[in-house]
Symmetry: D2
């Protein structure tokens, strides 16, 4: 019953197998092997256009260096107020990009377009003292388990473009969003106006596989140096390539995400049907936010369930009572029906 | 015949096996799993004292963040003029530490103590305009295949300590040096006055395993934040731990290094005995620098041998002739006798 | 009728005279002259204790380098949401300190203690992902013309100290606050728990005189290097010293601030008494925020009055109507009664 | 007898008078006053083309922000090995530009073209590990009192341009070089291929007046933000403008430099003619390097002469004996014939 995070899961057997196979041979270092080139080419196929792809070690690195690649002196980057870049990366985006992260409010973990516009308006291009708007970053799926629709992405990128700002997508849970929306990678990204993508594999069955995808190669022109100076160029890069090779093979990545999402569906259904539990808000990715009575939560933990509490937002439709607790449950490729049913069973007894 | 670099090798089967085994379970992220703790404890044993250990993604990260942990504003760090931190890391050490790298000359890739002293004297602690001495970093084994003896390390650290400077060791090829000197990890590090070590596993049979070892825990007090802000905290850290777990098990790491060194010995012996080749200078690690006549070099490359040319130093005992070329050959855990013999055979025909 | 800012004023004749006198002699550069030493000693007297004093070129430099001196990796600094460090310094505090500025709300331009506590609680010392609390900075007088009482400063510093955080005071208008409260420099700073002060002279009759005052010399131990690396060490430092020498002589600085404040009183009284104008909120420093009907504002501008519009806060007690405008009026040592009366006269006709 | 540095001198009476006059009026802050605009226009005249001019507080700031404006990630900047940017600025150029300063050797304090070429060749544009060439900076007049001829400047810029590198000139003693060469500002800068100039006034009779002049406005497009974020935008900028206004009026700047140079000539002539003293090497600016017997040096100091010792270069034509000392003597607009004659008289008795 491991629901603490999708990064508590291990790695998919196919990915391990591919790594093992790769381990037996020699090949060029620093991203210059045949495998590296082949996997880069696979990204072109996946995204139906020529893209520039760079691997890095962590999601924080992917986001931070993406922002660094489009940074401007005195610039600010806009994200949702609960975004990972603001809340969970220890200032790495500011450190690498030299920009300040400016929060934009919005329901359901999504920037509200009108509020984004208003925020951008506060940082005109000649705003020497206050700072100037320089970038927009949105998270898909969001930190609160929701997913921007294609139209909602369009609304964000339209505002950004009208203001001359590049748009980054933090796709730490990109695959979960993709299968939930049932659209193509191209449709969810560059066809919507996304310029740079943090393409995450680690949370979805790899052990360490994060890529930065530039849809506009011009933005990547200095990126090899940005990455190297950031100490993010692996010597044995091909072991990241190997992970992605298996990940992208025969739709494994989509299958794993589908599995995670459907396990979340099972959780959502169960939690919604019990008396002692309810969904805190509606989610459609592999994250579920639930209100449990404390007795249920403690019982589950006592029996080995792993999950984290979540700060109660101020705008909850139904308040969390004294004897209740708000928790986050995350599923992954490795989550089983048995785990979920056991968890629900404990809760139903609570 | 892969002699381009030890980072062209794959990963040892035992390390793969350990990774695969780890991949099937759930465990806490960000270095908080039982395995992470166990491997950290293993480092205490290996070094015969309580150490603080932090994993990072690359050797450049290990060096750069080590220096960042002891950085002082307006400070400079001293290294050999051919050190990786100066020559090969794209300014990452400067970027993360905010310090300038100051070169110190010396024969055989090693800082000459008298020259280190003189350099340090040029940067007194109140030297506001010129900058102040802040750190010393030495590479073991060196970039040119040589190895500091214990006495030579002592000579460096004694000068550093006399000037109040912490000492970092870049141990990208730590194991190769260790088995060559046939001493214990403690003897080659903190017993010699080393404060911080970049402990490299990637070049020696792991696929991505670099650790920073603090012998003085006080120096590490802010390091968790330094690493996180540098985007170097893996979510699935335990997969690095797993590599180190196998690496440190039953002396695998030392065995691999011994194998690499003995393969280099075989190369050294062969190259020294041929008419068409000679050793450029004496080395004792897994790196061999050889002068080949160009015909031999081209013949070897034509038959698939991989190696890099090396810039000819100004102080070569015997000059490199027009029809000769200087190359570097690096062996690893994966190098075979057959490869070496085949290479030598081609050269002998040259 | 120059009310745009106190930095539109020139320099006081006594300060000019002192500069001219200093210009005729030779003296040691980089802060090592007799005059530099004498002025530093004057600061000890002014603050009734031994302090460390460093001159810099701008208020932004004073704030940014103050924060840099107490910066921690992954740290955040708390200020009021409308503070200069957040709103008006183009990210310089973030750039020099490496920290993010976190806004704290509060009425009247002052941090509300309970909200400061709550904010700090969100950044515990082991908060690796979100960041850790590292510093508090408050502005005296505030950006909105108000002044923290001694008790209010105490309330802020008490919370900071309870959390182990150093406290910086942005005193760009330090003298205006001091004379308004009618207290001593010591009482408004270190006796209240302030650790570092940006002591501004430029807005109060100097042309370029900003000092950073460390009440705790330990915090200043690296500061000479921080300043030099920030390119803020003047060669002819003594010309800043000369300005401060005159500034601090015979209470000139307090007299200038008193004059500015009393000119603001005259403005406040006049604006409060007219039909076409009203005070937007109560202020006690040399800044006045007024709501004018637009006709009056335009008439004044047409006759040469200089002032800036001010964004209307969401929580105005009395809303600003369509035909009204909110403006800021700032007085200085150089403001005359005639200017104020002329301005009021134009408004009264509006 | 103040020969320690030209920054020990005060300020010229005309500059003081202009400052005093400016101090009596109100005017727009942050470089937006009529005077600021007028002085900017003056720079266009002085340089016979449209230039972009930005004032900063120190020579270190001028150099550091100039380099920041042309910085590239992973880039290195080439300067003479004794240049101020390497030797005397506490790493500020590295800090602001993010680049490493790479020394180029050369006689007489000037980069030797062949050595510059060789150095640049070591940092090709795709040199990911070692770093890439990004900028060249030369000092005019040099740190050792010499002056690049126009042809010598051409030789440097030609190499830079051939490698696609912008060229910065550190003109802390720009006027001294100009009058020595007897050429126009345009001839010594952009007509020679200089892109950016640190135009120093402080050492030549101002008290704080440093400008960055961009001959290629495209390079300045982000500079307002670079300067503001570096905390170098003065609120009362017009007091720098006022200094430059007087400085550039009726050739005052050239007259002051001529005076300083001719005082140096007088020193050179005197020192060359005495038995107890000799010129260490030939200089043509306002800096004189002399070898004195120690008795003379001590006698001069005892009678109040101020000067600094200078490290003895390894390549002195005539070695400095045990009983001799190498010193630097700097003249300025304020140096008098009497001071020089008194100094020489003391030496001649030595």
């Amino acid at each position: 019953m491991f629901f603490a995070s999708d990064n508590w899961a291990g790695a998919h057997p196919s990915i391990n197998e591919r790594l093992s196979r790769e381990s037996t041979r020699f090949a060029a270092a620093y991203g210059n092997s045949d495998l590296d080139k082949a996997v880069e080419a696979r990204f072109n196929e996946i995204f139906e256009r020529d893209v520039s792809v760079y691997f890095v070690s962590t999601g924080t690195a992917a986001n931070s260096l993406s922002l660094a690649s489009i940074a401007r002196v005195g610039g600010v980057a806009f994200s949702h107020s609960e975004a990972h870049v603001i809340e969970d990366e220890c200032g790495a985006p500011d450190f690498f990009s030299g920009m300040r992260m400016v929060p934009v409010e919005g329901e359901d973990g999504k920037m509200e377009p009108a509020k984004l516009s208003a925020r951008i308006a506060g940082f005109p291009q000649d705003s020497l003292h206050h700072g100037r708007a320089a970038a927009v970053t949105l998270t898909q799926a969001t930190e609160t388990g929701t997913i921007y629709t294609l139209d909602e992405i369009d609304a964000i990128t339209r505002i950004a473009k009208a203001n001359g700002l590049p748009v980054h997508m933090d796709g730490a849970r990109f695959a979960n969003a993709l299968v939930s929306l049932d659209v193509s990678p191209a449709e969810m990204t560059w066809k919507r106006g996304i310029d740079i993508l943090s393409f995450g594999g680690t949370k979805n069955g790899c052990w360490c596989a994060e890529a930065i995808v530039f849809f506009n190669p011009e933005l990547a022109k200095d990126f090899a140096f940005i990455r190297k100076r950031a100490a993010q160029l692996f010597s044995k890069t091909r072991f990241i390539s190997a992970q992605f090779d298996a990940y992208l093979q025969d739709g494994l990545w989509l299958n794993m995400a589908s599995h995670a999402n459907s396990m979340a569906d099972r959780l959502r259904a169960g939690i919604g049907s019990l008396n002692s539990t309810r969904l805190a808000w509606h989610t459609t990715s592999n994250e579920v936010f639930a209100v449990l009575n404390k007795a249920s939560a403690e019982a589950a933990e006592a029996k080995g369930a792993k999950f984290y509490g979540w700060p109660v937002p101020t705008n909850m439709p139904e308040p969390v009572r004294e004897d209740e607790t708000l928790i986050r449950l995350v599923t992954s490729f490795a989550t089983t029906e048995e785990d979920i049913d056991q968890f629900l069973s404990i809760c139903s007894a609570g």
